[in-house]
């Protein structure tokens, strides 16, 4: 036994037990305010005026969130005009989510029916589904049902030698137990992509890792941008990170040491278990949403911070339904915001703990949170807006 999770019809286990209403917007937000235990997404990225490829990404995110193990049931409505694109029609999304076996209710497939009527019907459906979800009991299960996603933020040089290696240790344990672990941030493998390619499970995967890294570097040049003026960000440099290569080499430490099974698109679900690289954007407003859509039932942030506190530390989960556990490798950062940080691996630097000891402590904490213990930001009611990671220009 490693954690207590909510069993789902598709064999997965949730670490939380929410009802989800989609898409985001006024009606969904009001349903959430009216009914306890309901979540929705807050984003202007509905897909309107976007290319088919980008609309497919929106569809993948909505379906993926609905299928996330932390979701017990889903309500869909078609009130936003973008929901009339063929790939975003509520009935199309509902069918894909329902394939996971969980209850899905479509309130209206029509674009411009009476908004108030949809609100009332949505509230009624949400109350019914929340009651239904409350009958599901947590059961003992193993690390093979953990599905994790990670991002490092405001990295400093502690990130590469303590914060990220502690997550890397955690990832190695979870993958060894048959679980799933995802990492990403494509701009932040530049300079370290050769090391990741060497760890690919197949030549095709190795080629794909090198290709996505090359593509993002070329894309930046295509816009006339030197990627070094975008990344490392000023806060990294203030905290001692000098070059993008240095940042990348520290960043990949969070991927541990197991073979990379595949490269996923933003919001794509992994085909199997093990370690996956996700071709995603480093923004915290975007990346955790993508992991949740890929099926993550728990996410981790590795904060560097250089000892200073940003208000982003108070952001609750940006994975909407996946809890977010805040970690740091910097003891000064931990002391400065202990009420918001869940875990500190700075002991690895001062020599008071080995990496294995710190990593085991993190694994124990992950199992607790997976079993229902709150992360510190779980106690906050604020919901920050998400951004979908688009590939194409807006039209």
């Amino acid at each position: 036994m490693s954690f207590l999770g909510y069993p789902r019809p598709d064999g997965s286990y949730g670490t939380r037990n929410y009802v989800l209403v989609l898409p985001g917007g006024l009606v969904s937000s009001k349903i959430c305010q009216f009914v306890d235990g309901v979540r929705t997404i807050i984003t202007p990225d509905y897909g309107g005026g976007r290319t088919q490829r980008d609309r497919q990404t929106v569809a993948r995110v909505l379906v993926g969130l609905g299928r996330n193990p932390n979701v017990a049931g889903v309500i869909l409505h078609g009130l936003h005009p973008a929901m009339q694109y063929p790939e975003l029609k509520p009935a199309v999304l509902a069918q894909q989510i329902a394939a996971s076996g969980k209850p899905v209710e479509v309130i209206t497939a029509q674009p411009f029916r009476d908004t108030y009527e949809v609100l009332v019907r949505g509230i009624k459906a949400a109350r019914r589904l929340v009651c239904e979800a409350s009958h599901v009991r947590r059961q003992e299960t193993g690390d093979e049902h953990l599905c994790l996603g990670v991002k490092c933020g405001v990295s400093d040089s502690t990130s590469g030698i303590a914060g990220n290696p502690a997550v890397g240790y955690l990832y190695d344990q979870v993958v060894a137990a048959g679980g799933t672990a995802m990492f990403g941030e494509t701009t932040e493998i530049i300079g370290a992509e050769h090391l990741l390619a060497q760890r690919a499970a197949s030549p095709e995967v190795a080629q794909r890792i090198l290709a996505v890294s090359h593509d993002i570097e070329e894309k930046s040049k295509g816009y006339g941008q030197d990627i070094r003026t975008v990344n490392p960000i000023p806060a990294n440099i203030e905290a001692g990170i000098t070059t993008l290569e240095e940042k990348s080499l520290g960043a990949i430490a969070k991927a541990g040491s197991t073979p990379i099974q595949g490269v996923l698109a933003y919001g794509e679900r992994p085909a199997g278990k093990g370690l996956y690289f996700v071709d995603n954007w480093m923004s915290m407003n975007s990346i955790f949403l993508g992991y949740a859509a890929s099926g993550a039932n728990l996410t981790l942030m590795v904060w560097g911070g250089g000892g200073y506190v940003a208000d982003t530390i108070l952001y609750p989960s940006l994975g909407v339904v996946a809890p977010l556990l805040w970690t740091t490798g910097n003891v000064n950062t931990y002391r400065a915001c202990e009420e918001s940080m869940d875990f500190c691996a700075g002991t690895v630097i001062d020599g008071s703990e080995t990496l294995g000891q710190a990593g085991d402590r993190l694994l124990a904490l992950v199992r607790q949170v997976a079993s229902g213990s709150f992360t510190k930001t779980d106690t906050l009611s604020f919901q920050e807006a998400n951004k979908v990671y688009f590939q194409d220009a807006a039209f």
Binding site: D156, S157, T158, G160, I161, I190, G191, A192, L195, E217, K221, D226, I227, R228, I237, A239, G240, T242, T243, L244, E245, E246, L249, G250, G306, G307, N330, N332, I349, D350, G351
Partner: protein
Amino acid sequence: MSEKRALALHPQDNLAVAAQDIAAGDPVRVVYKDGATQQIKAVEAVPFGFKIALADIAQGAELLKYGQVIGCASRPITAGQQIHVHNAQGQRA
């Protein structure tokens, strides 16, 4: 002038990371992952988390951290100096 600690992350590295604030003139014990140590003298202040040169590094020479290239010296660097954006740059654009 108390002895300070710095961490070398790979035997081939020509720099180490300050494990605490280092002042100019401080003796620094550089600790390698296998427990081996060497001592250098800081010629200038190196704050916690920042990099200190373990050897003289010529302008244009590669900087090694984690045993990998993180960039090159944009001006000559002497052992015990801090390495950062004022004397180092990345090679990827």
